[in-house]
Amino acid sequence: MNRAIVRLFAVVILLFTVLVVWTSRWTVFGATALDHNPLNKLAFFASEKVKRGAILADNGEVLARSVRASDGLWRRIYPQRSLFAQTIGYYYPGSGRYAGLELARTAALKGLQNPLTNLFGSFNGVPTVGDDVYTTLDPKAQSLARQLLQAAITRDHALSGSVVAIVPQTGAVKVLFSLPTYDDQHLSGCQPPGCSQFFDATQGRYPPGSTFKLVTTTAAMNSGKFTPNSTLAGPSPLMVSGQPLHNDGDVSYPPSTTLTEALTYSINTIYAQVGQDVGGRLMQQYMERYGFYSIPPLDYPANQMAASGEFFSPHTCFGNRRTEMLPVTSSCVDLGRTSIGQANLAVTPLQMAMVVSAIANRGRLMQPRLTSRVINSAGQTVQTIRPQLYDQVMRPQIAIELQQMMRHVVEEGTGQAANLGGLNIGGKTGTATDYTRNGVEYDDAWFVGFPESDPRIAVAVELTDIPNGYGGTYAAPIAAQVIKTLLAEHQ
């Protein structure tokens, strides 16, 4: 009998091994699938038990925080409402919907920073308080940007507008704002016009107009083909790709015109020649160094940002079926007009801010970033987001020459509206005609600039479809105001 008992015990061991194996099937091997099962309300409510960390401005002002609702779950509130709605995004418990920084930094906000606490913390239960995320954003400047854009929309009849301000040395984003925006509290009723979840600053692609001449100049001078004193003639019109290209006011310029003058007065026909001389291959190379043709390396959801480049709508380039982004070297690209920011070029305000930021930082393009550090509930810094180099776009000497050329633009050229006393702003205007109706041109107005004597901030301003909207008239004053405020803030 005893032999049979031993065998029976072996059967018991076998049965219990089966139980352990099956338990591990659900707890470990199949756990991820179960956690994501749409019927699984448990996993959802479990995540709601965590008090999500706050999102704060650079100065500590609260941009998003969690409050306990009557049902014991946490709710998210956004004290600044529409001012930071698109920048911070939203997180809706109950629907599992995230956007913006709430999505990009969700791991930190849930308090899962440290993989060690993640593993061993489970002995004491999962963390119930998330970490706070400090952004680099400046509420005062962001608020000014809203005020100025609102004026451009109501007074100047712009359709929309964006302001992006970056610290060139660190990539810290101080202002990231677009109108129209939305109110976090009333997202469900958000309908255009007047309300939009589309974030123009990172997703909106517009022809950059003459601001793009900065990129062309970079390629021309850093490749050694041109200097600020190189001379070219600027006849108007000039045949480019079989079509006549005009200068503003149809003015022709003599052969003694320098490249500095061509930038200062934004001479299209000279820049078309410069771009064609530089060639598609080099243009492509420099655009990529500036960050074109890639989703910007910002700590923001990739699906809420757009890459900038040459875009061809369906059936406009050898039977392309969909809208395609093509390199400048493509035979469909009109290189002359690309060099002046026209034709098929489509660029986001964030991308233009990166361009001017690289120039202001002597050619070193820093990765733009919205967050500076993560602080846990005990007040300890658990993560510091350090400045990172994206690319050395050009030699420092070339950048300094380019800065001086941009100073000329504001001092005596198209950007004089940005010439505030004492700030020594250098910049570049851009005006790209979107369409003409009843004899009125509707233009995308741009200005990118920085204070040349104290380049601690770089700004890009874009206004969409202003009637006869010169960048120098409408966008330049906004940029100057934002620069002035930010410099005063960070003395």
Partner: protein, 436 residues
Amino acid sequence: MRARNWELFGLIPAALLLSAGFAAVYIQRSNQLSTVSLVYGAIFLGLCLAGHIFVRITLPHADPFIFPLVAVLACFGIVMVYRIDGATVARLQAQWFVFGLVLFAGTVLLFRDYRKLENYRYLIMIGSLVLLVLPRVPHLGEQVNGAYLAIHLPGISFQPTEFGKVGLVIFLASYLRDHRQALASGRRILGYRVPPLKHLGPLLVLWGAAMLALILLHDIGSSLMFYGGLLAILYVATDRISFVIVGMLAFAGGAWYLGTHIPHINARVQDWLHPFDPKLYGVFGGSYQLANAQFAMAAGGLFGQGFGHSLITVPGSNYLFIPVPDTDMIYSIITSELGLFGAAGLLVVYVLFVARGFKTAMLARDSFSKLLAVGLSSVVAIQVFVIVGGVTRVIPLTGVPLPFVSYGGSSILANSVLVALLLLISDRARRPTPAA
């Protein structure tokens, strides 16, 4: 070290588990639990100690590990009950353990010579079978989720199957002790040794009873438990694996037929196979319970979420994520809070308990004691397999309590008798024979 000192020593893990568990749950849920509730933990520890002292006096030679292992399981149970249901139910559970201890003491004192149970074996068998069918008696029993599991008397509700399992094991051990030789012999038919019908008859009756339990009670779990116990004792009694194989085939055949022909059982099988089918999930009494048990276990992972961190009810309501979390589904909550490691640890405690039970059987000097010890241990092992296997979807889910852990009076009382019998057998088996 003497056996009883080992036993006292063995209570330390149980005490640690209880203290740590109550402290953890109390800290986690201090807004809902009063300081007084911690007293129930202390009372419970006192019960364990009282049990030990009683065993020390009355059963000095008994296996020193069985009682501490049961104490660990019971402590595990009361911590989970405290955690799931709060102080009031934990107090009730502790109260049931007081009664259990009394019944334990009564059994030990009354059946010091447990072999006199053999005199009443047919009475015990009939009593057990009556207990099994009681829930089906109109006005007495109640249908829960399609199965007849409990009976209700004024002021009390209890699950007779828990007592039935102990009674049937006693009968089987006694009956097979008498007939094991005859069953193992028998004439050869087609090379297979068929036992004489006279001896086989009562066993066929039991097979029929198990099937009847399925048909009448719709209770797959209990019938599997009884039948498994029967096969275990039969195998040890006759040492013939062919009996086990034939027996399992017969059960499988019966179960397959009933699973495909009785709608309630078929529904259980469907829930088992497709718990996440929205149609089954949405039906009242459908796969909701089983599916959510899987989700809860998934939330546990390797180390668990920690005591008190599993969600029992939908926040802001009293709606349970997993129906009956404190009885049938307690394993899913344990896994959710203590993870794979905690759950495996619990199963290891059961295996150790069964090992000590089998060890007792091996040391026992007479066949009845051997078969009784094997039967009682096996029935616990099979019960754990039925409910844990049901929760983890090894087999279709049927509700039986997790022995010593689940909340519930019937289960505690019946298992107290079971442990008392095991310790009685062990005490006799290990008693030193006077030097001849």
